[in-house]
């Protein structure tokens, strides 16, 4: 119980909840990608994809490629997480209230997990939709793509490199913090009376 008292500043504030929501707020507001894919060599970039639940940037041969639906998906993710941040922060400050327990959200953990699952399915989606194979989830590979231009077959070879950025790990850390924050909230809050 000493640990609970310490972490909750004598059962007044859920410090883990506050820390987690501040970290998550940084992740949302920084708008940095969680996964980056670049294609090209010798310092030149034929392909660039920067992806996170809140942002999507794609460039092919230096020109932007946009998919309208992605903006709305990013917006929904942002609003959802901002709501989770707000309820978690408020619930953490009102930790002594028994009804504040549901306010601590674990969406911050669900989102990075869903995101990484989505990234793992990207190569399959690219293969099924446009016939592109060899897209690395992590690391490097050479992508080879052949297509017909008139009667001629043109082959494009692009060295690809992908990485998960530090911002993903920060988001995951923020999400992981939400679990002990949720447990701590339950310990702090007194049972409600009907």
């Amino acid at each position: 119980m000493e640990l609970v008292d310490t972490l909750s500043l004598n059962r007044r504030v859920n410090t883990l909840g506050v820390a987690g929501s501040l970290l998550l707020l940084y992740v949302v507001l920084s708008d940095k990608p969680w996964w980056i894919l670049t294609g090209g060599s010798s310092g030149e970039r034929a392909i660039l994809i920067e992806l996170s639940p809140f942002t999507f940037t794609m460039e092919v041969l230096g020109r932007p490629l946009t998919i309208p639906v992605v903006f709305y998906v990013n917006l929904a993710a942002k609003l959802s997480i901002l709501l989770a941040i707000a309820t978690t922060a408020l619930g953490s400050i009102l930790a002594s209230k028994p009804w504040s327990n549901p306010m601590i959200s674990v969406k911050g953990l669900i989102l990075p997990i869903l995101f990484i699952v989505g990234v793992f399915t990207l190569p399959q989606i690219a293969q099924l939709t446009v016939g592109l194979s060899g897209i690395p989830i992590l690391g490097e590979s050479n992508m080879r793509y052949a297509f017909k231009s008139g009667e001629a077959e043109v082959v494009v070879e692009i060295p690809l490199k992908s990485e998960i950025t530090i911002h993903y790990w920060i988001a995951l850390a923020a999400g992981i913090i939400s679990i002990p924050a949720k447990i701590l909230q339950g310990r702090i809050a007194k049972p409600s009376k009907r």
Binding site: G40, L61, G62, I67, V73, L75, W99, A152, E153, E157
Partner: protein, 174 residues
Amino acid sequence: MNKTGIVKITIMLLDSLAILLPIALALNQYGQNIHKLFTPSYEPPKIDISPGRFLGFRIEDRNLYATFEFMNRGEVKVIFESLNAMVYTSKGTPVASASLSRRISLEPGGVENVTFKLAFNTTVWDALTPLLLDENSVELKVNGTLTLGILGSKVIIPVSLPLAISRFELELAG
């Protein structure tokens, strides 16, 4: 209902709103044309490399060099990385291999001389003179693949270039 239940329902409603609001915005914007919502929008840069003037032949023992002017009318830099081709006579007999004499970088709006190197198994004269017996020129065809470098990627395209060398040009080049 107790306060905990009210809080849960309120959060659930706000969560739903966070999802429904973007959907509503999307439908408001694209309602008449949902398909456009999922259609990628992309305008590629213009890539346009075209041969210009032929600048002449040059012979060095077993190698015949043919130089062309190339113009980059596109919007991105293109690099002539390599040529991997064979040279055939009009009867389809292979007589030489073809390659680029060096790597050439063509900036947008730029013009560069690109030299193709035709390497014969014997001296150029010995290889081509028999083909000129009853003709005033030799008709050759260069078939193979040209590798271009575009923004760090390699684009391999098939090439089929006709090449005609007149007796006069051969004598001049030698």
